[in-house]
C-alpha cells in the first residue's frame, strides 16, 4: 500500500517547516506550489525514495537537506558542550534589513544560512528570555526555510490530514490512540475483523495497513453506503479493496430476515441484461453472499476482534455485537469522551461475556530538543480520545450457578 518511491500521479503529503502539511498529486509535468515556501517541478521528485527533505533553491532547483533537526545555531557544538548550555555571542552586527535578506535569497543563500545571519545580527538575542527566544526562532524559521519533506500517505498521515482540516471528522482521534487500538485489537495478517468506523475510513485504513493484504475487514455502516473517503489517499487496487473490505449495514446485520433475497436470474435472463445491469446483478449477488458469510461467522467461530469508532450509543450497541466476537478475542472501542466508555463499561459488567473492561488513555507529549534548551512543547492540542479495551469470554453456566466467587 505504501510504495517506497514517489510514483507518478500518487497523492502524497508534504511537511513544511511551518509544521503545515499539504496533500499534493504528483502529476508528471506539473509544477507544485507551496505558496510562500516556493514551487518545484513534480518530475524532479518522481522516482525518488521517500525520506528526503528537499530545499528549493533559486530557479526551482531542488537540493537535499543534510540535516533537518529543528534549526539550531549550535550545530557545531559537541554533545558535552551542548549539555552545558550555550550562549549566543553578540557580534555587534546590525540587524539585516528586509532588502538585505531578499538580496541574500536571490543569491541562492539557503534559508538556514539566512537565519544564522539574522540571528548573529540580532544583538539583543542573548538578553532575551527563553520564552521570547523561542517565539523569535520559530517565527524566523517559518519565514525563511523553503524546505519540504514528502511522505507516502498511511494511517499516520491520514490522521494528520484530518486533524488539519477537520478534527471532528475523526472525533479528535490521536495517532497514539489509534496505534494503541491496533495493538489492543491484536490486528495482524490473516485476521478477520468486525469494524464499525464512522470516520471517513481512518480506522479501516489503519487495519488494512496491519493486515498487509491477508485477512478481511467487515465494516458495519449506518447509512446505505459506507463512507470510505480516505481510501482514495492510499495506493489500493479495486481488487484488493473488494477482497479485503466487506460491508454490511446495521439492519442487514441485526435483521437479515428483513432483507429481500436477490432473485436468482437464469442464464437466459442474464444474457438479456445490459452489461451494466449484469454487473449490478453480480454485485448484488456477491453482496448477498458476503452477508451470508458474515452472519455464518457470527454463528461459528466469531470475528478476531471488534473495533469500534462511532457516535452511536455504545452502552446499548456493544452488548448486541458481542455474539459476533470470537472467544478470547479483543473488543476495542474508541470514544472522544471518557464518560461514554464509563457507561459502556457498566453495561458490559452487567453480563459476564467480557473480561476486564478497562478504559485507557495515551497521550504523547512532544519535546523541543534544541541542545541546551530541552523542554516539553509549551502548548499542544487537547483531546485524543479514550479506548475501552476488553476480551470476549464464554461464561460457564456451572461456574456462575455457584455464584460469583471472586
Amino acid at each position: 500500500m505504501e510504495p517506497l518511491n514517489i510514483q507518478a500521479n500518487q497523492l502524497i503529503l508534504l511537511r513544511l517547516p511551518s509544521q503545515n502539511i499539504k496533500v499534493v498529486k504528483v502529476e508528471p509535468g506539473s509544477i507544485i506550489s507551496l505558496g510562500k515556501f516556493g514551487s518545484f517541478r513534480a518530475d524532479d521528485i518522481i522516482g525518488d525514495p521517500f525520506g528526503f527533505t528537499y530545499e528549493i533553491d533559486s530557479g526551482m532547483k531542488l537540493s537535499l537537506v543534510d540535516n533537518t533537526i529543528e534549526f539550531d545555531e549550535d550545530d557545531q557544538m559537541g554533545a558535552e558542550q551542548a549539555m552545558t548550555g550555550h550562549k549566543i555571542t553578540a557580534t555587534g552586527m546590525q540587524q539585516l534589513t528586509s532588502e538585505e535578506i531578499e538580496a541574500l535569497k536571490s543569491q541562492g543563500v539557503s534559508g538556514a544560512e539566512i537565519i544564522a545571519k539574522v540571528m548573529e545580527g540580532h544583538a539583543a538575542f542573548e538578553h532575551k528570555t527563553e520564552y521570547s527566544k523561542e517565539k523569535y526562532l520559530k517565527r524566523k524559521k517559518q519565514k525563511f526555510l523553503q524546505q519540504f519533506t514528502p511522505y507516502a500517505i498511511g494511517s499516520t498521515e491520514l490522521i494528520d490530514i484530518y486533524l488539519d482540516k477537520d478534527p471532528t471528522r475523526i472525533y479528535n482521534l490521536s495517532p497514539e490512540t489509534l496505534a494503541l487500538a491496533l495493538n489492543m485489537g491484536n490486528i495482524r495478517p490473516g485476521g478477520n475483523y468486525l469494524v464499525v468506523d464512522e470516520t471517513p475510513g481512518v480506522l479501516v485504513a489503519a487495519i488494512l495497513e496491519r493486515i498487509g493484504g491477508e485477512g478481511t475487514i467487515t465494516l458495519v455502516h449506518e447509512n446505505e453506503h459506507p463512507n470510505l473517503d480516505c481510501l482514495k489517499y492510499l495506493v489500493l487496487s479495486e481488487e484488493e479493496r473488494e477482497r479485503m473490505i466487506k460491508t454490511i449495514n446495521w439492519l442487514e446485520l441485526f435483521h437479515p430476515e428483513e432483507s429481500e433475497p436477490v432473485r436468482t436470474k437464469t442464464a437466459e435472463e442474464l444474457e438479456d441484461l445490459k452489461p451494466s445491469h449484469r454487473r449490478q446483478y453480480y454485485r448484488a449477488k456477491q453482496r448477498e453472499e458476503n452477508h451470508k458469510e458474515i452472519l455464518k461467522r457470527a454463528d461459528t467461530c466469531g470475528f478476531d476482534a471488534l473495533m469500534v469508532m462511532t457516535l452511536l450509543d455504545l452502552p446499548t450497541l456493544i452488548p448486541q455485537l458481542l455474539r459476533f466476537v470470537g472467544g478470547s478475542r479483543p473488543i476495542v472501542l474508541y470514544s472522544e469522551f471518557k464518560e461514554v466508555l464509563v457507561e459502556t463499561t457498566l453495561a458490559l459488567q452487567k453480563e459476564n461475556r467480557v473480561l476486564a473492561p478497562t478504559i485507557m488513555e495515551t497521550r504523547v507529549r512532544k519535546y523541543q530538543t534544541l541542545p541546551g534548551r530541552i523542554h516539553p512543547l509549551m502548548t499542544s492540542r487537547g483531546y485524543g480520545g479514550y479506548l475501552l479495551s476488553a476480551l470476549r469470554v464464554h461464561p460457564n453456566r456451572a461456574v456462575n450457578a455457584v455464584g460469583k466467587i471472586s
Binding site: E2, L4, D48, P49, F50, G51, L64, V65, T68, I69, D75, A79, T149, T156, P175, E176, A179, L180, L182, N183, N186, P189, G190, G191, R210, G212, G213, C301, G326, G327, S328, R329, V342, E343, T345, L346, Q349, L355, A356, T358, I359, M360, E361, T362, R363, V364, R365, Y367, T369, P371, I374, L391, R392, V393, H394, N396, V399, N400, I405, S406
Partner: protein
C-alpha cells in the same frame, strides 16, 4: 496455539494464558496430567482440552474459576517473568506505529530485555517479516530464546547474544532493516554501528528508548552527528480507569436525618446518637470497608464515575525518534 495464528479450540500442547486477575495471569502449556494450582485449588489441564479459548473454567473443587485465554503480546506482557523493565502497551504500540512497522518489515531490536516488545513487533511483521534482536546479558538472552521458540516465533525472531555497543550488529544473515529500536544504557554508542545493517535505499526509522534526560541529550547529538533527520523526542503518558458507580445522596436526605434526630430527642426517647448516624454512614460507604450497600444496588441512585488506577506508571522512558534518509542518488551529488 502459538502467538502467530488465531485458533478457536484448545488442544493438547497449546499455549494458554490462565487469567485469575489482571495481576495474576499465568502462562501454561496444556499437558494432560498437569495441574495449575492457585488459591481456588487445582485446575486440570485435561479439562481445558476441547474448550473454546475464552472459556471460563471452574477449579476441580468448584471454588473459583479462571479464564482460558489465547496468548497475545499484550496478555503475555501481564504474565511474563520480569527480567528488566517491561515495555508496556502504550509505548509498544506507539513505537510500532512511529517506526512504520508493517507486515514483512525487517526490524533491529537491542536489547531484547524481557521480550515484551519483541512479541509485539513479531505480531506486526508476521511470518513475512523478521526481527533481529540482540541481548548482551547471556542468561536473559537464553531465557528469551527459549520463550520465542516455545511461542512459535523462531521463524520470525532471531536473537543474538551480543553487546552491540562494542561489537555491532553483524551476524551470519545480511540484515537490511527499515526500523531500529534501541533500549540500551548508551544507545549513542550503538548508532555508529548501524549503517551497514539498515536498508539505505529507503528511509530508516529509529527509536532510542532511554529513561534519563541526560541519555536523551546524548542520543540526540549522536543521531544528528550520524545524519539522522526529523529528530523528535516524546514521552507517552498513559492512564487507565475502571468504570464504577457512586451513590447520589441529597442534602434533603441529610436534613431528614437531622429532623429525625431532633424529633427523637424532643420525644425524650432514649436516643442513641451514635447508632443512627452510624447506620446512615454505613449505607453510604462506597469504598468497600464494612459496606452493606453494594455498588449499584437497587433502591439507591447511582452516578457513573471513573476510578483512575491507583498506581500509575508516571514515567516509562523518553522516546527519541529519527529518520535516516536514503543514500543520495547521483542526481543530487
Amino acid at each position: 496455539m502459538s502467538f502467530v495464528e488465531d485458533k478457536q479450540k484448545i488442544e493438547e500442547g497449546d499455549h494458554v494464558l490462565a487469567w485469575m486477575t489482571r495481576s495474576d495471569v499465568r502462562p501454561i502449556k496444556v499437558q494432560s496430567g498437569e495441574l495449575l494450582n492457585n488459591r481456588y485449588g487445582p485446575f486440570k489441564h485435561e479439562d481445558m482440552v476441547g474448550r473454546s479459548f475464552g472459556a471460563q473454567q471452574a477449579s476441580s473443587a468448584n471454588q473459583g474459576f479462571i479464564h482460558l485465554l489465547s496468548p497475545t503480546p499484550e496478555l503475555w506482557s501481564l504474565s511474563l517473568p520480569h527480567r528488566t523493565q517491561i515495555i508496556y502497551g502504550p509505548d509498544a504500540s506507539y513505537i510500532v506505529h512511529r517506526l512504520k512497522i508493517r507486515p514483512s518489515s525487517v526490524v533491529i531490536e537491542a536489547g531484547t530485555g524481557s521480550g515484551a516488545l519483541t512479541h509485539a513487533l513479531a505480531r506486526t511483521v508476521s511470518k513475512s517479516g523478521k526481527i533481529f534482536t540482540f541481548e548482551y546479558h547471556e542468561s536473559r538472552c537464553e531465557q528469551a530464546r527459549a520463550e520465542f521458540e516455545s511461542h512459535g516465533l523462531s521463524e520470525i525472531v532471531q536473537i543474538t547474544h551480543r553487546n552491540v555497543c562494542e561489537d555491532g550488529f553483524a551476524i551470519d544473515t545480511d540484515i537490511k532493516a527499515s526500523a531500529v529500536f534501541l533500549d540500551l544504557p548508551a544507545p549513542w554508542t550503538a548508532i555508529p554501528h548501524l549503517f551497514e545493517h539498515v536498508d539505505r535505499s529507503r528511509a530508516v526509522h529509529i527509536c532510542c528508548f532511554s529513561p534519563c534526560i541526560e541519555q536523551v541529550i546524548k542520543n540526540i547529538y549522536a543521531l544528528q552527528a550520524a545524519g539522522f533527520q526529523h529528530i523528535e523526542m516524546v514521552e507517552n503518558q498513559a492512564r487507565r480507569w475502571e468504570g464504577h458507580q457512586t451513590m447520589v445522596r441529597t442534602v434533603e436526605e441529610s436534613m431528614d436525618l437531622l429532623r429525625d434526630i431532633r424529633r427523637r430527642r424532643q420525644d425524650g426517647m432514649d436516643f442513641r446518637h451514635g447508632r443512627v448516624e452510624k447506620r446512615k454512614l454505613d449505607n453510604y460507604n462506597p469504598w468497600g470497608k464494612g459496606t452493606r450497600v453494594r455498588e449499584g444496588d437497587e433502591g439507591y441512585n447511582w452516578r457513573p464515575v471513573s476510578w483512575m488506577e491507583t498506581d500509575i506508571k508516571s514515567h516509562t522512558s523518553y522516546l527519541t525518534f529519527a529518520i535516516l534518509p536514503p543514500t543520495s542518488p547521483d542526481k543530487y551529488k
